[in-house]
């Protein structure tokens, strides 16, 4: 984005109060702030950028306070080694440079620790921009020593990664990626250092700000698709299983099968990252089972994927769009979260015509198109960070499949739900266990009574306010642990319990978890409250929860601006549920 355009965007007026992005850096960040605000507004986000103050990075880190919603910590090599800076009083003597190198390990770890301590006190979503520019040219009369100093940069980058890679609130920007369009000479701008107090070119600032906004807004996470549906014949393997026979199909890594082999490897990687995989194929199910369920056949065909990598396999002679719709229903996935891969243009057209929300990608005709194909697929499944939940997702769906099969063995729903032996562990969210609930709260669309999203600051504000509580429910059944599946935000106002919002993971719909959760919540306030109130706001996606209040004997009281308010007297008259509840006693505030 040209700087003038960025200025125009940054000056656009937006309604409501702005969220604050704090930039912590020692250099002058005015133009970065302009770009940050511009990219935020381009994404329809009303964000205002502030800076901690020129040269005040260490002071801000030591103070350990912030009122911001998001922050960018923009680092340079001189922040770790102040003696390298043009601006300090340190004399550039040969001895100083030798000492600096000798003590570099301690200095870097100490500074990383300072940032870590700061982030413990200010746990908001943070982007760290690691140093990318090497030390300023110091012209020491010793090439070996200069070489040692230049090697400090990769060491600092590696240490930052080691210190912050497992912090869910922190993302370290990949500057090699962000600045890939610029040569090193286009990144450093020595003239800008003396005139603008910032040693990088406006083009570099532009690229970095764009990626900071992408990261802070969770755009990657939000945009990531959930399910990849693939065709089988001539896509997952070479050959047509129903015609050529099981012995003729192949995905071995030889020249003819290169695309199929690499595609399977790529799919295996996606599955390990939490993407769900399904197949939609016009085939006989027995033919496909004869391959996918037989280890000897899998080996013979050079297959990387097996039956248990797939959340669903649909082999029918109906249209692919209908197969995909059925898969989506079974997995509780929306069509807009699906990518479909097929080699047949007619199938791709049919799916895109009947399900325009599904992203359709053509399988490459030759290995020369493979790279472009995989890049396009990757772009649909980029996640800024993999959570433990992502890594376990396939297992959760495996449990769900087992439960579905188990359901068929039971005469009626009550019989089935009772036999699942479900237990919910309900916990009150505190400072130490808030990451996963915060993530679930902000990504749940279908069972979300209000569709509300909260910033980290708003979440913390709710958590810390008197008489306000956040609860989670973790579900276990005879097939295993489903992890945290529900989050409720609740507060007490006079003699009323207000259910601010409740979200439920789509993996456990129709299990009566929400009933058990509501019953437990109401019981916590039976001494202080006489009624429970809740609100329902229709969103484009929350159809599955719109009957929640009426099913739980609430009465509609009023409606204003797209929000309906419901009320019920305590004790609640609730329908039967099938969940045994375990919980610690509530910490009243």
């Amino acid at each position: 984005m040209q700087f003038l355009e960025a200025l125009k965007y940054s000056k656009l007026k937006m309604a409501g109060s702005a969220r604050q992005v704090m930039v912590l850096a020692n250099y002058e960040m005015d133009q970065l702030k302009t770009y940050v605000e511009a990219y935020a507004k381009q994404a329809d986000l009303h964000w205002k950028a502030e800076q901690c103050g020129y040269g005040n990075l260490m002071t801000a880190l030591m103070a350990g306070q912030t009122k911001a919603d998001y922050q960018i910590i923009f680092l340079f090599l001189e922040d770790f080694f102040p003696a390298l800076s043009y601006r300090t009083q340190a004399q550039w003597t040969h001895v100083l440079l030798e000492d600096l190198h000798a003590e570099s390990e301690t200095a870097v770890k100490k500074f990383c620790k300072t940032i870590q301590n700061y982030l413990k006190k200010c746990p908001i979503k943070t982007v760290i921009v690691p140093p990318i520019l090497n030390a300023p040219p110091l012209w020491p009369n010793a090439p070996v020593l200069m070489n040692d100093i230049q090697n400090l940069l990769p060491y600092v980058q590696a240490q930052l990664w080691a210190h912050f890679k497992s912090d869910d609130l922190v993302e370290i920007l990949d500057l090699n990626q962000s600045l890939s369009a610029l040569s090193p000479d286009q990144v450093r701008d020595s003239k800008a250092l003396f005139h603008k107090g910032f040693p990088m070119s406006i083009e570099a600032i532009d690229c970095i700000a764009a990626d900071c906004i992408r990261s802070l807004s969770g755009a990657f996470q939000a945009a990531a698709k959930k399910l990849l549906v693939t065709d089988l014949d001539q896509v997952l393997w070479r050959g047509v299983i129903g015609e050529d026979g099981i012995d003729q199909i192949s995905a071995h890594p030889d020249r003819e099968n290169h695309c199929h082999h690499v595609f399977q490897k790529f799919l295996k990687l996606l599955v390990s990252e939490g993407t769900l995989l399904a197949a939609a194929s016009k085939n006989n199910a027995e033919d496909v089972s004869a391959l996918l369920d037989q280890p000897s056949q899998l080996k013979k065909a050079g297959m990387i994927l097996a039956r248990n990598d797939f959340a669903e396999i649909s082999c029918q002679w109906t249209e692919k769009s209908k197969q995909i719709q059925a898969i989506c229903r079974r997995l509780n996935i929306l069509p807009q979260d699906v990518v479909f891969v097929d080699d047949n243009p007619m199938e791709l057209w049919e799916v895109s015509h009947h399900l325009p929300e599904v992203s359709c990608v053509a399988f490459p005709k030759s290995s020369s198109q493979l790279d472009t194909f995989l890049k396009e697929l990757r772009s649909y499944f980029i996640k800024s960070k993999l959570t433990e939940e992502d890594k376990k997702r396939s297992r959760f769906y495996e449990q769900k499949k087992k439960a579905e099969a188990f359901k068929l063995e039971h005469a009626n729903l009550d019989d089935y739900l009772g036999s699942l032996q479900m237990t919910a562990s309900i916990e009150q969210v505190t400072d130490s266990n808030q990451e996963r609930p915060f993530q679930l709260y902000n990504k749940t669309n279908q069972f979300n009574l209000t569709g509300e999203r909260l910033s980290q600051a708003e979440w913390r504000q709710f958590l810390e306010a008197p008489n306000r509580y956040i609860f989670t429910a973790d579900l276990n059944d005879q097939f295993g642990d489903h992890g945290i599946v529900a989050v409720a935000l609740v507060y007490l106002k006079e003699q009323t319990v207000i259910l601010h919002n409740l979200v439920l993971s789509c993996r456990v719909f129709n299990r009566t978890v929400e009933t058990a959760f509501l019953e437990w919540i109401a019981a916590q306030f039976k001494e202080e409250a006489v009624t429970v109130k809740g609100r329902l706001r229709h969103t484009a996606k929350n159809e599955p929860c719109r009957a929640f209040f009426s099913q739980h004997c609430f009465v509609e009281k009023k409606e204003d601006a797209n929000t309906k308010w419901f009320e019920a007297a305590l004790p609640l008259k609730l329908p039967k549920h099938f969940i045994g509840v375990q919980s610690e006693s509530l910490l009243k505030k």
């Binding site: 040209q2 700087f3 003038l4 200025l7 003239k191 406006i202």
Partner: protein
């Protein structure tokens, strides 16, 4: 790019940076008589001019530009230099 074209583009740059809509006011703008022409907006102006006209201003030229007229003459000179 002739003087008129350069002038029109400079007017747009000045309009965005100094939040001005009146062309006459822009053309008369001088740093010494404008509260809006502070050090930050001066830097923004230099960056916008450099990027828009694909020129590089020297520190002396940056110091010299303290009115719309001077911005126009310096920019025109640099653009012509680039073409030679």
């Amino acid at each position: 790019m002739n003087r008129t074209e350069i002038k029109q583009q400079l007017i747009e740059i000045f309009s965005v940076i100094f939040d001005l809509t009146d062309q006459g006011e822009i053309e008369r703008l001088e740093a010494a008589h404008s509260e809006k022409w502070d050090s930050l907006n001066h830097l923004n102006l230099m960056t916008a001019i450099e990027q828009k006209f694909e020129i590089e201003l020297t520190p002396d030229e940056m110091d010299l530009i303290h009115s719309f007229d001077l911005a126009l003459s310096v920019t025109q000179e640099k653009v012509q230099e680039k073409l030679v």
